[in-house]
Symmetry: C2
Subunit: 403 residues, 2 copies
């Protein structure tokens, strides 16, 4: 029979998942309580309040979807979109394509605009498309790890409101490590995950939903129940999922606590601790920490003599795409880092496959020792592979950022 | 800010969730590794093998869905059912109605047969309905905690094969505590959860899929890709979910390891440990343990002078519905048990609301001390409430079972 779980020591410096903060794992080792125990409902209420701080929102409807970040995305889209609804997805990397695919499976008419990998959209580009498509929903990724780009969102809420569209944002890869303001930016629904800048394991998807979006979702429930209320615009299709039906999940997290699924209590303990860590540090301080260590890693790889992919001015703080030098085997380099140093960095896919490594500095691993250790190990592995690297240049350049 | 997670000590003797086995919580505190780390893929492969033993199957496609047991149910139904497909659901409790609701949301034509709460179906009743409805799929719950009944399944696979129907079973509440044989019984798809007899927290849904059912799911993928293969019967509708698309999830767990969601690694560690516990004990021994402690609880509540709901000969081993004596406030009794003894027992709903408590003896809590402690505390609480109970009768009767 297979033995006790005993994973090897790893420093996870890829685009996520990363090492969980030990405090999160300890919180997850707490014993269970019943689903309607007063202690449990108090934890649920606290978790809602904590994630309001993380998302920078006053939205009452801020809670967890029980599944990975992808479950959160699908819950948002399947609950908002009725078959035939028009959706606009500005695509600047792989996770934009995921939004397209999920929206298509909801039966939506999906329109896309695209920029080349390594770039982001100007608000005017989005507004022109919104004006042309007149979508019910604009669905956009904030930080797309496939390209490392971070889409500016501050103007998009206003654009969407002018054109009477809802705005959904997938903030899985960026939340906690990059500036984020649900209410100030006019975002209607935002979803995330724990396994990036939040410092936890994958398996719980924090979500926040504006009043405007709640109304759209509730209207579908009214129609389902045969009730028409003034202002209801839903055409009456039932939400195609039970598990990801946000109307039901809101009733479960809300004061009525209507039974839905059996809460994934251990994941809730973990998600709550992730938020506690961020709120304790302060969201601005956490973003500043990710900015600092991200800059150190960026200057470090440049100090080794390596190139960086994409428009660095628009890069997420927490991941960098490092060009694989000519003549170096990218996969062999990653394997050597893992075998000799226990360090994982990321591969890439799509147009960047074989061209870049993706190195993350996020959550628990947005730390000076993690950055310097990775740069030191990378120098050794590249040297052994015969690549031309500047001896000490990586650690030296990063140290200057920290000075 | 809210404090460190620190749940009160509880003995969870309801219909689930129950206390997690401490070994499971310890396994879940292990640090993460990367999603494609050789250690991680080895854990995934081991987990598949372990759940083949738990499900008593040789099905290659045996793995975890990342979500609660309800996510597993929905993954099975949304992947198997195309809009318009006929489904037969034999309903003998609340979770049968859940299967109906999920199948309806998949767009299926759902037909039901029902027996009164507290009873199960004879195979002839199911066969007559299958012959009349000619469904693509029969979807049935094994153990429905709402009534405590355990539907005999041994003959249903043969019935379904004779009529060319697939057979899906929701074994969430029963697996590990009651006899189960996926292959011997001819079940095509079975899903479960960790929070009942498996002794873990909710949040991961083990699933097993027969070759026959794999073919049905793969055929939809072929159609989606524009490929028609001999024998493909799918009408060409795309699976409405991405997150719960079993064709994609099989590719992710299979040898090609195609990227899908980011695995909920901590839940996988937990699910793996749940299966290790059962396989170590032996599945037959685990079922015998649940039978023993379930009988002790049953005789114990009778020994107190309380009645038991339903056809006891068809009861699941792991839960009993105890009639609330006349004049006793069921909710106040539960509250007193929780406040004074830290013991949780279950309420009930539907036709049984206010009529019975549901008491579970499952997973880590299928133990002599848990049974006797619960009976002793229940006697005290009922006595304080002015009910007529036989002093020492509960613990005494349970002790006789153990003698």
């Amino acid at each position: 029979m297979s033995g006790q779980v005993h994973p090897p020591a790893r420093l996870l410096m890829g685009p996520g998942p990363i090492n969980a903060d030990p405090r999160v794992l300890r919180a997850m080792s707490a014993q269970l309580v019943g689903q309607y125990d007063p202690a449990m409902t108090a934890y649920m209420t606290e978790t809602m309040a904590l994630y309001r701080e993380v998302f920078a929102t006053a939205n009452e409807q801020t809670f967890l979807v029980d599944g990975t970040s992808r479950a959160g995305i699908e819950a948002a889209l399947v609950s908002l979109l009725e078959p035939g609804d028009r959706v606009l997805v500005p695509v600047f990397g792989r996770f934009g394509h995921l939004l397209v695919e999920i929206a298509e499976r909801c039966g939506a008419q999906v329109h896309t605009i695209e920029v080349p990998w390594g770039e982001v959209f100007a608000p005017e580009q989005v507004e022109a498309a919104v004006a042309a498509v007149r979508p019910k929903l604009v669905a956009v990724v904030q930080g797309d790890t496939s390209t490392t780009m971070c889409q500016p969102l501050a103007d998009l809420g206003e654009v969407c409101r002018r054109h009477d569209a809802l705005l959904y944002c997938d903030a899985t890869a960026s939340l906690g490590g990059n500036a984020f303001a649900t209410d100030a930016w006019g975002l209607d629904v935002v979803t995330a995950g724990l396994q990036k800048c939040l410092g936890g394991p994958s398996g719980s998807a924090p979500i926040t939903i504006s009043e405007r979006a709640v109304d759209v979702i509730e209207a579908r429930k009214h129609v389902e129940a045969g009730i028409r209320e003034p202002g209801d615009t839903a055409r009456g299709t039932r939400i195609a999922s039970n598990y990801l039906d946000l109307a039901q999940v809101m009733d479960y997290w809300g004061p009525r606590r209507l039974n839905h699924h059996t809460e994934a209590t251990t994941m809730l303990y973990g998600a709550r601790e992730c938020a506690r860590l961020l709120v304790e540090e302060g969201l601005d301080a956490a973003v500043a920490r990710h900015a600092l260590h991200g800059r150190a890693m960026l200057e470090g790889v440049r100090g080794l003599g390596l190139g960086v992919f994409g428009d660095v001015a628009q890069k997420m703080h927490n991941v960098v795409a490092v060009e694989i030098p000519d003549g170096v085997d990218g996969a062999a380099t990653r394997a050597a880092l893992l075998a000799d140093f226990g360090i994982e960095i990321g591969t890439s896919f799509g147009p960047l496959h074989g061209r870049v490594w993706r190195i993350g500095t996020m959550g628990y691993n947005a730390r000076r020792d993690a950055v310097l250790t990775t740069l030191a190990a990378l120098e050794q592995v590249l040297r052994a592979a015969g690549a031309s690297v500047t001896a000490g240049g990586g650690v030296g350049a990063a140290r200057e950022v920290y000075a």
